[in-house]
Amino acid sequence: MVELKGLIRDNPETGIFRVHRSAMTSPEILQLEHERVFNKCWLYLCHESEVENPGDYRRRTVAGRPLFFVRGSDGKLRVFLNTCTHRGALICRRDQGNADALQCFYHAWTFNNQGELIGVPDEAGYGKSFNRGEMGLKSPPRVDNYRGFVFISFNPDVEDLVTYLGDARDYIDLVVDQAEEGMRIISGSNRYFVKANWKLLVENSLDGYHVKPTHKTYFEYVTSLGVKTGAVQTAFSRPARVLGNGHAVEEHDGVRGRPIARWSPLFGEENKEEIARIRARLVEKFGEQRTRLMADISRNLLVYPNLMIIDSIDITVRVFWPITPELMEVTAWQLAPKGEKDELLARRLDNFLTFHGPGGFATPDDVEAIESCQAGYKAEGVEWSELSRGMHREAIAEDELQLRAFWRQWYGYLSGLGKVETRDPVVRERSSVAS
């Protein structure tokens, strides 16, 4: 039995927040996470643009479970557990494709792309009780789509997706509204494994504090291209935001530019005009204030528990799953407006692969950093990780409030408390520190 009570020290009196490192190393805790987090929450599966045409399908593993999603001949996107209702073999055995029907190779049962069982060899061999209508492919209990982002839940009683997303919705809207004709996932994905606990990538992805020290070589590179990175010194001083339900966002000034409407040298002279045009369109449609939010601010959004939408010099969609307590699988995609001009798309992709890609100038160092943490835990002796930064003041983006929000909700789910308050409690010493 895991003693959960001792895992987090959250003390408003002293302004100290600590996480016990067994949360990153214990197989029992991972088992609990499967039961109480991944089997309870909404989980990101895919973007609807990944199966654009009737018959398009892709397979994907979510929380260790093999699934596939397919756009039926009726145009509807469905999600299925990737297992034959007969004896269990995988039905979808290619990563992607297009088909009217999928046949299990084992006994040749055939299902159409809407999941109905349409062919059973020698069906007369089954008795009267055998009902083909009941033997269609099974879906996860809940499937829903928020503005193109498709989520599933293995929890039939989970609240509806919009309620679950809470204030994270606004931030998804800020991404989706950038496009005139909707968004699409660019072909080519990044699949890599990191020898660290999955929660360390949540922390890393929301952590503005590490950006300057860890990514020095990246900033040297973009400086050499003419980006004025002096502003990075203050880029992370915006107020920190937590969005409820464990969702959180780390917002910073988009000093390196934004593919929508904020030009920087990373986007090339050839795109200056196009970016100005996009900005004008946004202002016309959404007004100055919202345009500034969409165009000038970069943000790393966590949709609890493990979807990151990094709306920055590109739009990275990143999801990561624990394999063991000390190993995770990461997949990252690039989201872009449909119909984006070739030159701008090229720069967006450049920005992704130089920063967010595992062959870039930044992500390899994030991988190194969190693997290094995981390796350090083996020293034992130091039992707690320290996450108090900003707890004594109005936290800013490079504080650790977003991380605490994640951890508080994590504890809420694990201990059965459900949704909990994830903001920092009001700290007594705050006023004295501020003065």
Binding site: D95, I186, S187, G188, S189, N190, R191, Y192, F193, V194, K195, T214, K216, T217, E220, Y221, S224, L225, E329, W333, Q334, D342, L345, A346, L349, D350, F352, L353, T354, G357, P358, G359, F361, T363, P364, D365, V367, E368, A369, E371, A375
Partner: protein, 171 residues
Amino acid sequence: MPEASLRGKIDGGSNLREAVEDFLYQEAALLDEWRLDEWLKLFTVDARYVVPTTDLPEGDPKKDLVFIDDDIVRLRARVERLKSRHGHREFPWSRTRRFITNVRIKQLEEDKFFVTSSFLVYRFRMGEASPYVGWYEHRLKQAEGELKIYQKRTVLDMEALRDHGAVSIIL
């Protein structure tokens, strides 16, 4: 380690194969020995170095997401980063060993060659061994008696960067 000459006239036949293979082995040696500035000199100024993602080996960097798409400016920056103590994934440097086989050569023009080869690159670091397996596509041209790379494409056969976490070395 003996150094193969990159110079020498190529007049087809066995000389061509010898020169191209020597060139590939020399490139591998420079990388294994972390002589990155010398390695950079193997490229023309208009060169391109591309590594597609594992799920889209035919990926086109103009419209698809790839792992690496370097022109000479970014390639130089990559080398600078790898030489920096702030390039954390490779500080300290990993040990690598490159094996190159199955070299096939097609002459495109009098002084241009299309070369494919298979590779196995072992990377050892922090107690872990991670092999990268795949094939190279080198486009070489001969200028002033020297072979230079004007395009290098490194296609990975692995389904994911499972043991690697990143493409932190030059492949």
